[in-house]
């Protein structure tokens, strides 16, 4: 029997020990009429070879197109040493490190991860991962409301230039607890977030909430359009409003950009983001990992596992899960979150990635990704009918305006083996025929030329009827 080691003798002996006539007898407490009648939707079991044939064919069907899509998931080079290390059975097939003495490998790795993320974001403490960037933001909103004792309400101001999926997830997640969200618009010319008039404390025009009502302000750097926000101003405005500042950041960008801990006069209060760019493959959407760092003063409001260094019976250092009184398995209904299983293995990938790259390697990845995006923008905007959507400095994404609906253009590019970017009109209808593109260090100048040539070809064809943007 596949994956079951029992021999006929074993079964006989075991049943004899139990005094049971057969295995079915062990299910006797289940009301018989509830027993499953048929399972026709499940086919016969396949051999490993058959399954691998099937899966190889399915994978091949999708191929490996040339991809200029970012929008929250980024293709970076992953050192071969990352996955060859973390897929070792002792990491891969271990559970959450509840038995600390038998899990020092995982625990020490988490401690190292926490240390790296704290430093990278300029904060003091990190947890051991959350599900992904989007859910990390949702948790940050809930945490901010708990942590901000000064604010009267449960109101969050969130920049519209934050990843739309992240905003949706925050909404879905925080709705039950009555959090309300209001968006900060962006400037149509620069692509940067606009602060309310009179930013600094007074009730702003058009908002139902005054300064003291706001628990948190959420800003993303670089924002969803790849544009660099004026994070210092936003942070100072948030703090002046009595709000905590929640920063959503791309960890690769922190090789170059100012860490949230240093934003404005006082720095961000909670930092979250998607860890995927750190050593995790695009992998069709997951598993990735969310990260969260904060100031020590808020650590008891933080969701997720946290590892601490401690001592053993003999006084020698060791690592263990700590501050568990925040967690569901101890605090139950009063836990900071219901999160239990998180993204341990991916967090490890991030740790090994950061260890291999170092600060300097990370800076290079960031700089070259920026350079390639600039080259891409230049190559594409040289094509008639293509121009930049926003004027502010970019990181490694850019929004472009096309002279016709983006969806058809993307289909034509897909037929040429190119994933050409994201059709922004589905998420920001007001932008019109806008296309979000991305290049990282994995896109060579030849790749960029290939894209430009294909787009040129596609746009030379006259727009289809009704295709005017």
């Amino acid at each position: 029997m596949p994956f079951i080691p029992h021999t006929a003798d074993d079964v006989r002996d075991m049943l004899a020990t139990l005094g049971a006539p057969d295995i079915e007898a062990l299910f006797e407490e289940i009301p018989p009429h509830l027993r499953v009648q048929e399972l026709d939707a499940i086919g016969r079991g396949l051999s490993e070879f058959e399954v691998m044939q099937l899966m190889r064919a399915r994978a091949r069907a999708d191929g490996t197109p040339l991809c200029f899509l970012g929008a929250g998931a980024y293709e970076h080079h992953i050192p071969a040493a990352v996955w060859s290390t973390i897929t070792r059975g002792e990491f891969y097939s271990a559970y959450t490190p509840y038995q600390a003495e038998a899990s020092q490998g995982t625990l020490q790795t988490i401690y190292e991860f926490q240390s790296m993320m704290a430093s990278l974001t300029g904060m003091e403490v990190s947890n051991a991962s959350l599900y992904d960037g989007a859910s990390a933001l949702a948790e940050a909103c809930l945490m901010a409301v708990r942590a901000n004792r000064r604010a009267r309400g449960t109101h969050i101001r969130i920049a519209r230039s934050v990843h739309p999926h992240y905003r949706q997830v925050a909404l879905t997640t925080a709705a039950g607890q009555g959090l309300t969200f209001e968006e900060l618009p962006f400037d149509r010319a620069s692509g940067r977030t606009l602060l309310p008039d009179g930013a600094g404390g007074t009730r702003d025009a058009g908002s139902a909430h005054g300064a003291g009502d706001i628990s948190a302000v959420v800003i993303q750097q670089p924002n969803f359009f790849g544009v660099l926000e004026d994070v210092d101003a936003v942070t100072d405005w948030a703090h002046a409003s009595g709000a905590l500042l929640v920063a959503v950041v791309n960890p690769i960008s922190l090789g170059v950009l100012k860490p949230p801990g240093e934003w404005g006069a006082a720095g961000a209060d909670i930092v979250v983001g998607e860890g995927q760019p750190l050593g995790c493959p695009l992998s069709s959407g997951g598993p990735y990992f969310g990260f969260m760092t904060t100031r020590l003063q808020h650590v008891r409001q933080m969701p997720g596992r946290i590892v601490g260094r401690t001592v053993d019976l003999e006084g020698r250092p060791g690592f263990t899960l700590t501050l568990q009184a925040r967690e569901q398995h101890i605090r139950r209904a009063r836990a900071t979150s219901n999160i239990c299983t998180n993204q341990g293995l991916l967090m490890m990938a991030g740790t090994v990635y950061l260890a291999l790259m170092g600060a300097q390697g990370l800076e290079r990845v960031a700089q070259i990704s920026r350079a390639r995006t600039a080259q891409l923008v230049r190559a594409l905007t040289a094509i008639p009918g293509v121009r930049r959507a926003f004027s502010a400095p970019l990181f490694h994404e850019a929004a472009l305006m096309l002279d016709r609906p983006v969806a058809a253009v993307l289909r034509a590019l897909a037929a040429r083996g190119i994933v050409g970017g994201l059709d922004l009109s589905t998420l920001y209808p007001q932008l019109g025929a806008a296309l979000l593109i991305c290049a990282t260090e994995t896109k060579t100048s030849q790749d960029i030329r290939r894209y430009a040539a294909a787009l040129d070809e596609v746009l030379r064809a006259p727009p289809a009827a009704g295709d005017a943007p």
């Binding site: 407490e29 790296m116 660099l228 401690t310 209904a333």
Partner: protein, 531 residues
């Protein structure tokens, strides 16, 4: 087997100026020229304190660290409620095929049919296994699925103009994620006691039900390791009170192909794919917590879901024709046409919304798909059968050698509880002492102190993939421990002895918070950490 030596922190291996330079991207001349100017105020001033290391340093460090762990690939790991079974390597191999790994989550459907076909068929198979009418795969772990489920329950009541129902009943023994989920969804968790044999106390249940009842969260078999025998009565009562039933799928391994939550009367549930359907647990994840719903909750499913254009939506799944089973019909790149696509707000306007950045933990979904195809119908049932056989056998043997089962009159499901209450009183030896001593003897410990309801408990889940010899060896170790408890209790109280560290001080950890490495650590006290 485990390494004994300790390993310095990665930061202690670091030396200024060292680097794994082959990993740095090579800049072209054009790169130097091209990047746009960044306003200086936005730039990092000091580099992050990341370690500086050679590739060998990194590989050797994490390889050595790995050797400090217990794991399924090296140890019996009977961690109750966690289903630590063997995960076939083929599941990993298939999920790690380069094309799946390289696929961007927002790739156009034209370039995604192979992937989406797997995901769609997984949805269909999970429906068949759970008896649910709809499945959404995006929740990223069990607790995330719970959240989706309770949010759907709330949305359901609200949609019926019944928004005040905000009480979620949970049995005393429920996993912590259940009450925590209730809170996260803005509900109030209310505990229901269980009776002496581990079944829900029906009179207490009746008393708790009322117009505020949103629903009840149960797992069956329960976390007490027994099957809730009056589940139909429970369902009747809850439904009669206007509540819905949530099934916590963490224990699905026990009943695969034997009984279905949908048939028991549950309205909504999650499945811990990473437990039952074979994703190695990775030292803390990743997981996947798909949710399944009965008819009335279909409109509220979270986004996105994979839909199929053309053909009856639920007519297939795993039950394809023989040739497809063999992977042959797909083999020649048939069907470049778009059949599968992600459904979104426009398709499901009443959805509770999005729970994750993208469509779910695809790598885990693919593993579950492969695992299901490997098992097939019979294999599925065998999982439940042998998981149950192993648990009952191990329980019987441990009782024979002198341990007390918490529910000696009940059949065990896939797991069972021992209580060390007697030993604690008589010998001063706790469940934790037994757990730590087991580590010395080469076994991962069972779950300790959960469910809290049973004092000094060990929750033991051997899983179907362990052999009788392994179970017998575990009994031998437990027998030895019992003898040590009688003869030399201190030996247990100070265990473990043979691991890389001796017993760790959790109190010290929480008091003297040391959560991140700093080269020169300033004195920190726990006061500073109190918020």
């Amino acid at each position: 087997m485990i390494a004994r030596a300790r390993e310095p922190l990665i930061f202690e291996h670091s030396r200024p100026g060292r680097a794994a330079r082959a990993q740095w991207p090579a800049a072209s001349a054009e790169d130097e020229r091209s990047a746009e100017h960044i306003p200086p105020a936005l730039l990092r001033r000091r580099p992050a304190a990341l370690p500086e290391l050679s590739e060998l340093d990194v590989v050797r460090h994490y390889t050595r660290l790995s050797q400090l762990n217990f794991s399924i690939d090296t140890h019996f790991y009977p961690l109750g409620s966690c289903t630590m079974k063997y995960n076939p390597k083929a599941c990993n191999a298939a999920a790690l095929l380069p094309e799946f790994l390289a696929r961007h989550p927002l790739s156009p459907p034209e370039l995604s049919q192979g992937f989406l076909a797997c995901v769609y068929e997984l949805q269909e198979m999970l429906k068949a296994i759970t008896g649910m009418r709809g499945v959404a795969l995006s929740p990223l772990a069990g607790a995330h699925g719970e959240f989706a489920g309770v949010a759907m329950i709330r949305a359901y009541h609200r949609s019926r103009g019944d928004p005040t129902r905000n009480e979620i009943l949970v049995p005393q023994a429920a996993h912590g994620t259940n009450p925590a989920t209730a809170t996260m969804c803005g509900c109030v968790a209310r505990e229901i006691p269980v009776d002496a044999d581990g079944d829900v106390d029906l009179s207490a249940l009746r008393a708790a039900l009322g117009p505020r009842t949103a629903g009840i969260m149960l797992t069956n078999p329960s976390t007490l390791g027994v099957f809730e025998r009056r589940i139909e009565e429970v369902a009747r009562l809850v439904h009669a009170a206007g509540g819905l039933l949530y099934y916590d799928g963490a224990n699905l391994n026990a009943i695969l192909g034997k009984v279905r939550p949908g048939d028991m009367g549950f309205d909504v549930m999650h499945v811990n794919l990473h437990k039952t359907f074979s994703t190695p647990h990775g030292g803390g994840g990743p997981g996947a917590g798909p949710v399944g719903v009965a008819q009335r909750l279909l409109p509220f499913l979270p986004l996105p879901i994979v839909g199929r254009d053309g053909g009856p939506a639920s007519a297939e799944g795993g039950g394809e024709s023989e040739s497809d089973d063999r992977g042959e019909s797909d083999d020649r790149g048939e069907g470049q046409s778009v059949r599968y696509r992600w459904l979104d707000e426009r398709d499901l306007p009443q959805s509770i919304g999005r729970l994750a950045g993208f469509g779910g933990n695809a790598g885990v979904l693919l593993r579950a798909y492969v695992y299901l195809r490997l098992l097939g119908r019979e294999g599925l049932q065998r999982v439940a059968e042998f998981a149950t056989l192993n648990a009952n056998y191990l329980s019987a043997r441990l009782q024979q050698v002198g341990y007390d089962a918490a529910y000696p009159r009940r059949r065990a499901s896939h797991e069972f509880i021992l209580t060390l209450r007697r030993q604690a009183q008589e010998l001063g030896v706790t469940a934790m002492d037994v757990a730590k001593r087991l580590l010395d003897l080469g076994f991962h410990a069972p779950t300790t102190y959960f469910p809290l309801l049973i004092s000094e408990c060990l929750l033991i889940e051997p899983t179907e993939t362990e052999s009788k010899e392994t179970l017998d060896a575990f009994v031998t170790a437990m027998t030895r421990i019992l003898q040590e408890a009688r003869e030399d209790p201190e030996r247990l109280q100070r265990a473990p002895y043979t691991l890389p560290v001796r017993r760790l001080d959790d109190v010290h950890a929480a008091r003297e918070l040391d959560l991140a490495y700093r080269e020169r650590r300033p004195q920190e006290s726990s006061d500073a950490a109190a918020s």
